[in-house]
């Protein structure tokens, strides 16, 4: 599903952030991406999400080379990804329904289909019945679940989560992780960046560890 081959990323002011990264993530596989702040976790995710381009190497996403991709193709390739953020990145002036519907609206799905799939997504994260609420009226855990519903609504092949439990207490974090396991069983690949060591230990999945830009597989 996802393959990194000799990937390096260098920024003009901070120097090399990622060096010679190689790994594979299979279909339906879940892995943690750990490391200290500044170890390059976010940069690695940004390369996959085509928010940055690597300087060397190749990144293959579902058979597509996303490390060398023209600007106008990026939107279409991003539709294969589900992105989840630590700060949720919800639109506060839109309802829960509209937030979750956004990926479907931008790809031109029709009205009935949107309605059906948004409800299905919200059902999966346990928020059915809160479609008309605004994000600010929800708790942190609920807001993150809206973010997750938005990430899965377009049935992506790969979910990238950047510190998804960073702002949540252990109980809520557990809940979120159980949800991720369900997606994994449904055949979705997941890459979860986190520095929550306890969480990593509790769920015994593959761990990709970054240290000063080098990948160490535990």
């Amino acid at each position: 599903m996802l393959r990194f081959e000799h990937v390096s990323k260098r920024y003009p002011d901070t120097g090399e952030v990622l060096t010679e990264i190689n790994f594979d993530l299979a279909k339906g596989e879940m892995a943690f991406l750990t490391g200290r702040s500044g170890a390059g976790k976010s940069t690695l995710l940004k390369l996959i999400a085509m928010m940055e381009q690597c300087n060397r190497g190749t990144i293959m996403l579902d058979g597509q080379n996303v490390s060398r991709v023209s600007e106008h193709k990026i939107p279409y390739l991003r539709r294969n990804l589900g992105l989840i953020f630590q700060d949720y990145k919800l639109l506060n002036d839109r309802t829960v329904f509209d937030n979750v519907a956004l990926p479907l609206i931008v790809s031109g799905v029709n009205h009935q289909e949107i309605s059906r799939r948004v409800r299905a997504s919200l059902d999966k994260v346990g928020l059915l019945g809160k479609e008309k609420k605004y994000p600010v009226a929800l708790s942190g855990g609920e807001q993150q679940r809206v973010g997750i519903a938005r990430a899965i609504v377009s049935k992506p092949k790969l979910i990238l989560a950047d510190e998804p439990t960073g702002n949540l207490d252990p109980d809520l974090s557990n809940e979120i992780m159980l949800m991720f396991e369900e997606f994994k069983h449904a055949g979705t690949s997941l890459l979860i960046a986190t520095h929550d060591i306890e969480l990593v230990h509790r769920f015994a999945y593959r761990v990709l560890s970054l240290d000063k830009g080098h990948l160490i597989e535990a």
Partner: protein, 325 residues
């Protein structure tokens, strides 16, 4: 199922998908059109200021245009009168004047000829000038008798007119000849300068509309950059993202165009009655003209169009540089 049947069914479902996508696309546009209008009303003060500035700029150009068009209308009436006035010498009697007029009617270059005797001229002047009583006090009639000659239309070149004028001047009965054409020409030259000025002012103010709208859209884009980032991250194309902003630009142009039309109409409504009074003082029947339907249509189309162009330019540049962090 036969093969052709399967193909047929496949085509049908493909068509259905296209139709479905197209409907979603239309719905998207309709949503963009009305939600952007709604967004303008969410920041009423800012929107009102921008629209007012745009409307004033547009009204300046449109008002100037209509003013020139009004003056043009005045000189337009004069255009037909390239007639010559032959003022006769004082010692020419009415009978001799009539005889000369008859002779001139036979002239190959004359279209119509009209003789006005001293008495007729006086009567007309009394009637029209408003000096009636004062003129009655005069012992002698100071006005000369006149023969008005309207040359044939074939005489369009200046040279022909000059030749005819010289010919009439040499007639012994004629004191002097005046051609109305001369000052019509001057007037027309002034008008062509004014028209060019309207054109230049319109271009400048049109550019102002383009840039003001562009800048407003740039600010709106900045205000909503969070939404732009998120849309980009979930796979929105630049075309999709810019659509509501383009509609915002369209509404700015459209509403301010309409407001400008109201301002122009209001201005001319205010000067209508003084103009009418002036017209009566000059014995005229001058009707103030307003912007016609097609001019209104062009005004709306060009302001909306310029606003969209301004927005498009800004969006094209900015969206490539707004990258999600």
């Amino acid at each position: 199922m036969s093969k052709s049947n399967a193909v047929h069914k496949h085509n049908q479902s493909f068509l259905a998908l296209i139709k479905e996508r197209f409907n979603a696309y239309l719905l998207n546009h309709a949503h963009g059109l009305f939600s952007s209008l709604g967004r303008l009303t969410r920041t009423p003060f800012t929107s009102a200021m921008t629209i007012l500035v745009l409307a004033i700029a547009i009204a300046l150009a449109g008002g100037f245009y209509n003013m020139v068009a009004n003056i043009q209308q005045l000189t337009g009436n004069l255009e037909a009168s390239n007639q010559m006035s032959l003022f006769l010498k004082d010692n020419i009697s009415e009978a001799m004047g009539q005889k000369l007029a008859d002779q001139l009617r036979q002239h190959p270059s004359s279209e119509t000829v009209r003789y006005i005797s001293k008495k007729q001229a006086m009567d007309e002047f009394k009637l029209n000038s408003g000096f009636g009583d004062a003129l009655s006090a005069l012992e002698t009639n100071p006005l000369p008798s006149v023969i008005l000659v309207q040359p044939k239309n074939a005489l369009e070149t200046d040279e022909d007119m000059q030749r005819l004028m010289r010919e009439f001047k040499q007639l012994p009965q004629v004191d002097f000849v005046q051609v109305d054409m001369k000052w019509v020409e001057r007037m027309q030259t002034i008008m062509s300068i004014a028209k060019r000025a309207v054109f230049l002012v319109s271009i400048l103010l049109g550019l102002a509309v383009t840039f003001i709208t562009g800048n407003t859209i740039r600010l709106e884009l900045y205000d909503r950059r969070h939404e732009v980032y998120i849309s980009k991250l979930v796979g929105a194309t630049n075309g999709f993202i810019q659509r509501p902003f383009l509609y915002s630009g369209f509404w700015l142009g459209f509403i301010s165009g309409f407001l400008a039309w109201l301002i122009i109409s209001g201005m001319f409504l205010l000067i209508e009655s003084p103009v009418e009074e002036l017209s009566i003082l000059y014995n005229g029947s001058f009707q103030l003209r307003y912007l016609g339907f097609f001019e209104f249509l062009i005004l709306m189309l060009s302001t909306s169009g310029l606003a969209v162009i301004g927005s498009l330019g800004v969006l094209h540049y900015q969206l490539r540089h707004l990258k999600p962090q």
